[in-house]
């Protein structure tokens, strides 16, 4: 089945037998989605609040970057359930991040 070319094209996997579901389900504890949602909502409000505090620009940027990374991390880890994926996939996913930093930081030194 892994090699059926026609099924492979189907974005919406047509069927998934019970044993496989079980296997996946076992490796995948249910996160508390609503709790994560609450954290995201609170962080968003906190971000807006921080922006209105009138902090010096540098401290503001550091605080906001930290909070944005936190939120992005929560979405990736729990909503995209990266936390429950095989380690290889996690490596694959973080691979482009250093490139992104290299691009932006190197060019920033130019201006």
């Amino acid at each position: 089945m892994a090699i059926d070319p026609n099924v492979g094209a189907n974005l919406h996997s047509p069927d998934m037998p019970a044993d496989a579901t079980h296997e996946l389900g076992a490796a995948h504890p249910k996160p508390r989605y609503m709790f994560i949602f609450g954290v995201l909502a609170v962080l968003t409000m906190a971000e807006v609040g921080v922006a209105y505090l009138g902090l010096p620009q540098r401290i503001l940027v550091i605080t906001l970057v930290f909070m944005a990374m936190w939120k992005a991390g929560l979405v990736a880890m729990y909503y995209m359930h990266l936390r429950f994926e095989p380690r290889n996939l996690i490596f694959l996913v973080i691979a482009p991040l250093p490139l992104a930093f290299v691009l932006v930081l190197a060019v920033l030194t130019e201006f």
């Binding site: 069927d15 998934m16 909502a41 922006a51 944005a68 979405v75 095989p86 694959l92 482009p96």
Partner: protein
């Protein structure tokens, strides 16, 4: 699945290699990696141009409507939780749950786009446009160029997501996804959460800093 008889005739070899993620999900993740680099080029350009020309970028609040967009951010976060709820419903084979949560996600996504269109319309009315010609708002035209390109391409991604969600919902009403075949919902969800994730970063950089 049982091992076919033909296989037992062979000497020991490693099982079919691969990481234990099915093709569609792996493919979507790989696609999202290229999306990361695409948004890096847009967001990175914003950061670089802004640090090169701070005079073109006034404090966001003097041009943009922060409370409105903060509310819109909240809408998008809600749409993420409804999306993940649809996935959870698919995992437990709850056909009604899948449809309800998908519909909610579509509604929230469309609402987000509506608010963004309203925001653009208001901003254009205040002389804050993408082009040099007719730019009368605070800062310089560089601000308008970067703002509309970044938020516009994010909006285009949301729009494509809503279209794809409609297709997913259509298939769900035809009885898909609730027989343990939750792969389609999961892959759709990955895209949708990624779009949400990009907005989290965009909102922080463009509206709050």
């Amino acid at each position: 699945m049982s091992t076919p008889a033909s296989l037992s005739m062979l000497p020991p070899v490693d099982a079919a290699p691969g990481i234990r993620v099915y093709n569609q999900k792996l493919g979507m993740w790989v696609f999202l990696l290229s999306e990361i680099m695409f948004f890096t080029s847009l967001i990175g350009s914003y950061i670089i141009l802004r640090s090169a020309h701070p005079e073109a970028y006034p404090t966001p609040g003097s041009v943009l409507n922060i409370p409105l967009t903060a509310f819109n951010t909240f809408v998008l976060i809600c749409s993420s939780v409804t999306m993940v709820k649809a996935f959870a419903a698919a995992e437990v084979r709850d056909a009604r749950g899948i449809r309800v949560w998908l519909l909610a996600t579509i509604g929230l996504g469309a609402f987000f786009l509506g608010v963004q269109a309203f925001e653009y319309w208001k901003l254009l009315g205040h002389g804050f446009g993408p082009s040099v010609a007719g730019y009368t708002a605070a800062g310089g035209p560089l601000y308008g160029s970067t703002f509309y390109t970044m938020t516009g391409f994010h909006g285009a991604h949301v729009f494509l997501g809503v279209v794809a969600l409609c297709f997913t919902l259509f298939r769900a009403t035809r009885g898909a996804y609730d027989h343990g075949d939750y792969g389609g919902i999961e892959v759709m969800g990955l895209y949708w959460h990624f779009v949400d994730l990009v907005w989290i970063i965009l909102f922080t950089i463009v509206y709050l800093m």
